[in-house]
Symmetry: C2
Subunit: 343 residues, 2 copies
């Protein structure tokens, strides 16, 4: 069967909706701090991964670190902000506290044109923070205090919003909170019932390790579009190699978009395999947000009816931009970049 | 009289003190937001200057702006942090509220090794914020909500700290709050009585315009080291030209360090005139903090007994670094830069 005889997976999308993508994730403010490998070793931190810490541990760690730069973050939130920056119609669901960091988070995502209507919690833990330790090799290692974001539960969820979008996007990190996981599953069921598609990012290799059985079941039956990097997809299938993992995931969802850092990305759909080259737009500064912006570019193309190859190239371009700056939200104009490199 | 026969003004410093510089200023968190000239025009903002706004106006303006990056700021605080980053012994006096932004401010200045012991206010206005609008030409235009920082008064001031330092550093912005101004004058009197020196930054041309008589009196009788840029010094003397302003200020204090952006700086001391070349270390990104870091480099050299020329070159180098990045606190190692360019 030739590739051309497959319908493109986004040809099945309901196109007459008011939103392109609605996303659910942890609403987090990032604290970007430059450090060195020695600090990671001394604190038992595994480079390139995300560890969950409680508020006391977060404050203790923060006190030992240098000055920071604060910016809105959160994996799915970065993706939805990126889609809005590209000109797509995006909405984000996540929980902040009614504190100063929560106000910053809400401002930043709304200011790029994304909808964000989840009410801030009036009591309980403060807005989530992620200490992002950036080493001289531009890798980021994350320590997250989930705070108010774990307060998200199915009761908060505006389920009416879900069938207004073509795609529901979720971050694997939600699995670290039972209530958030339940909120996600309810949303995924609502999206599937409405005829839209569900996308999942595996988020982090350790997160995959914590929730492997649940993710395996999900990918098999409930996800149309899967985003994962090399470490995450090999962890999911306990595979010996990237090729082995790619072989195992093929056919389990409509599209698997597998990112491989400086080796670009691989798209698997039906029996098609597309290799997408990376974009190198300048010196590598900070890899924070690379996967999130890849998903943003991909989904913007996907919900706009672009070919899979163009979806991949859009993802690759957005990821290529965000790694040239400090922080996970592009400070450059993404539409201008697209016009320059892809149009 | 030849230049060589003048004693260097820092040869008069008491060198046996535990601190090099103690500074008093507004304790501010900056919100860096990229915008364009049109936005400044539409909001009646004068490029390159600082306007004071109240909390309601700050929130209204913020709501119309794009996403921001938050970082500790404040003019004198940036200078003191820079001195600490250079390896100097620095202490900062300023007032935050006991809120999340106040905690960020306190963390950042302490984390570079500066002392910061002013207790946070437990009630009243929130920590000061400055909306810094960065235009494509890298200029910054500032709208400041002074919040808790105007709560600083002589009663807060740890006057015991002042005579522990060689130099007391003050920002002109303090004149916008009567209580803070009184705190400064008390500190300046204590420093002079102890045999140390007093440094003042004029801060902003509009600030000079608001407080001209008071600044003129101060420069004549109470300041040893004056920092001003071209706009500020011409505003102070209502001069027709930089040369005219420089002529008027000569001899009124031990040293006047006059900065001229891409034209470098001019040091006036006795009948000496030293021209200091600027350092160009990369593309111009954001001029926020340029004057503050010039003062940091200069005072680090000055309190270490360096020649005036080296003081100026240290200032010029630190300013040259900070304009190549977003935000007013150097993200690069200043001692490494000094080793590379000046040693």
């Amino acid at each position: 069967m030739s590739a051309a005889s497959f319908p493109a997976p986004n040809s099945l999308l309901p196109m007459d909706r008011t939103l392109d993508v609605v996303g659910i994730g942890n609403a987090i403010v990032d604290v970007l701090i430059q450090t060195d490998d020695r600090f990671l070793e001394d604190h038992g931190l595994s480079k390139g991964t995300m560890a969950l810490i409680d508020e006391i541990a977060a404050e203790g760690l923060y006190a030992t670190l240098g000055p920071g730069l604060e910016t809105s973050g959160g994996s799915a939130a970065n993706t939805l902000a990126g889609i809005a920056q590209l000109g797509g119609k995006a909405a984000f669901i996540g929980r902040v506290r009614d504190d100063q960091l929560g106000a910053i988070f809400a401002h930043d995502i709304r200011s790029v044109g994304a909808r964000f209507d989840t009410p801030a919690a009036a009591s309980g833990p403060s807005t989530a923070r992620c200490l992002i330790l950036v080493t001289p090799d531009a890798q980021r290692t994350m320590c997250t205090y989930l705070g108010a974001s774990v307060g998200l539960d199915p009761g908060d969820l505006d389920l009416d919003l879900v069938p207004q979008a073509k795609v529901l996007y979720l971050e694997g990190y939600l699995w670290d909170s039972e209530a958030a996981k339940q909120a996600f599953l309810a949303a995924a069921a609502a999206m599937r019932a409405s005829g839209g598609q569900v996308a999942l990012s595996l988020s982090d290799a350790f997160c995959v390790d914590r929730h492997r059985e649940s993710f395996l079941e999900l990918v098999d039956g409930h996800v149309d579009i899967l985003f994962a990097n090399e470490m995450e997809i090999t962890s999911l299938y306990k595979a010996d190699s990237f090729e082995d993992a790619a072989h195992q995931v093929r056919g389990r969802c409509q599209v698997a978009a597998l990112t491989r850092s400086e080796q670009g990305s691989v798209l698997l759909s039906g029996d098609q395999t597309l290799l997408i080259e990376p974009f190198r737009l300048g010196p590598l500064v900070d890899t924070t947000g690379a996967g999130d912006l890849y998903a943003a570019g991909f989904l913007h193309g996907y919900t706009g009816g672009a070919s899979l190859e163009r979806c991949g190239r859009l993802g690759s371009l957005c990821a290529g931009q965000v790694v040239t700056q400090l922080g996970p939200r592009p400070q450059a104009s993404l539409p201008a970049l697209v016009a320059q490199h892809l149009d």
